[in-house]
Amino acid sequence: MMSLIAEQLLNGIQLGILLFLIAAGLTLIFGVMDFINLSHGSLFMMGAYFSVLFQSLTGSFFLSIGFAAIAVFGLGMLLEILLVRRLYARSHLDHVLVTYGLILIANESVILIWGSVPIFSGIPDALAGQVPLPFGIDYPAYRLVVILVGMLVGLLLFVLIQKTRIGMLVRAGATNRIMVSVLGVNISLLYTLVFALGALLAGLAGAMAGPILSVQPGMGETVLILSFVVVVIGGLGSIRGALLAAMIVGLIDTMGRAFLRDILSTVVSPQVAGEMGPALASMLVYILMALILFFRPEGLLPLQKRN
């Protein structure tokens, strides 16, 4: 039982890490450009498909992940330059509608190119086994690698944002956009880079999630809505908030799905618990979000905005 709980805890952390990678981009794009990007989930999906594509081209799993992330970075850049930058001055409703259109295009393009049948992205032999951990837990090596890589990327992101000049501009842009452009910063280049960076993170998450989830059209949407929950719970624009919220959402979702039914069956009859458990488990994060927003409408760690 203990090892089962520990394993599910690790699964929760792993989901949390993936959600953080996606939500970090989403929240950055929102914080700096005030742009709602529904198609962020599609970038996640493209990461997964590109990784499958590059795997068959290069034959190497690790190369394919890197190439996929770079390809999605390029895609994000293109998208920003051709379309998204025209929308910054528009209302949030317009953002929602245009990026909704982008989701339609992305999903159908994927169906046209790869078909609508789920593709299984293989795990390399080196990572296919289980790793013995302390306390007698065996955990899949690949998932462990995802956790480690995710943490590393998260760390790099913090260094980038907190210690470099670009990061300083990003932080400044999130706090007071107009002031940054008045100070002579090339704001449109900064916007393009932030958007592409967000795309890169989503693409990387998608490429890494390929072997865990099944690669199929529409896979981005489930993740997208969860990431939005993360971003909103954490506080729009706040990367630290996104990290905290991603972990909370990842753990609660995973633990709920794993144990809620058993917990409920101690209170109500097994039949009712079997019915209610899964329903309640999938609603749990949304109920959490509603509760948090009810008491803290700005999220857990809101960004200090000055206009």
Partner: protein, 319 residues
């Protein structure tokens, strides 16, 4: 635009809305064409209800389809329990959708802006997952509805023409009612709250109560659209309450012209007809519709209503 052309537009639109379906069915000799126009009418009601809070109240609800789903399931559950009378079904649907909108509204109206968009989405997802995982309501597969709503002695709900008449009358009533609300004193207060909250408060309006009332009314009308949809498709599925459906409703409102009185009607007809034409060419029609939507939002912000307005004002001038 003068008062006479306004009345002319109202009459023309409402007449065309219910008459175009039968005309197409008669000309083509294909009664099944009526179903397409029933769908358009149902979408028009749902979109008009969303337009009331989106266009006039400034509330961007990204979970409006939840009331469509609720209305649909409420109707279906009653019908399958052999309660088919409209006089019981409609009040139930109104109560269910209204209560849901009241609960959701009490939570979401505390927030604004992006938070409002996201939390309406999240709360709608709660209902969606409830429907997906509940085996009593058919779960993921949905629920077949065996009986259509009965009304009066002599009304046969399975006769294509009679059923079309039923949908048309209910839709017409809803659209007229929504328009009446928008033009009423209350509608003007709703706009005032959108335009300037501080000023509206200073004028003594209870902004929260006004918004909540609008939100609940919109939910109720969308629930009625769900009631019609349950009858029309004889099916209830979680998909009716999915976030994609909520997005579709936003698309319909924008396509028609947000914040215009008949925009939702134009939008719904354009959307449903476009969908049925495009999907007869290719099953990959979203790949055509996606770019179309993006172009509409970027270049054609007035929607179809803007186009129609120009048409009518030109006519008035030439007269």
């Amino acid at each position: 635009m003068g008062a006479s052309s306004l009345r002319l537009e109202t009459f023309a639109v409402l007449f065309a809305m219910v008459a175009v379906g039968p005309a197409v069915a008669i000309v083509s000799g294909d009664v099944y064409q009526l179903a397409v126009f029933e769908r358009a009418l149902i979408y028009a009601v749902a979109a008009a209800s969303l337009n009331m809070i989106l266009g006039f109240g400034g509330m961007v609800s990204f979970g409006h389809a939840v009331y469509l789903g609720l209305g649909c399931y409420a109707t279906g559950v009653l019908a399958n329990a052999d309660v088919t009378s409209a006089w019981i079904q409609l009040p139930t649907v109104i109560a269910v959708a209204g209560l849901a909108a009241l609960t959701i509204g009490l939570i979401v109206l505390r927030t604004s802006g992006v938070y409002f968009i996201m939390i309406t989405l999240a709360l709608a997802q709660i209902f969606y997952f409830l429907a997906v995982s509940s085996s009593y309501f058919g779960g993921d597969d949905g629920m077949v509805i065996y009986e259509r709503t009965t009304l009066l002695e002599g009304y046969d709900p399975f006769d294509s023409w009679q059923f079309y008449g039923f949908v048309a009358v209910v839709a017409l009533f809803c659209i007229l009612a929504i328009n009446h609300i928008i033009r009423s004193d209350f509608g003007r207060r709703l706009v005032a709250c959108r335009e300037n909250t501080t000023r509206a408060t200073a004028l003594g309006f209870n902004v929260f109560a006004i918004r909540l009332t609008g939100f609940v009314l919109a939910g109720v009308f969308c629930g009625i659209a769900g009631f019609l949809l349950a009858n029309q498709t004889e099916f209830a599925t979680p998909g009716y309450a999915s976030w994609q459906r909520s997005g579709e409703l936003l698309v319909v409102v924008i396509l028609g012209g947000v914040g215009t009185r008949f925009g939702p009607v134009y939008g719904a007809f354009a959307f449903v007809l476009l969908e049925s034409v495009l999907s007869s060419f290719t099953s990959h029609w979203p790949i055509l519709f996606g770019p179309f939507l993006i172009l509409v939002v970027i270049f054609f912000h007035q929607g179809l209503a803007g186009l129609v307005n120009q048409l009518f004002s030109v006519r008035v001038k030439t007269e």
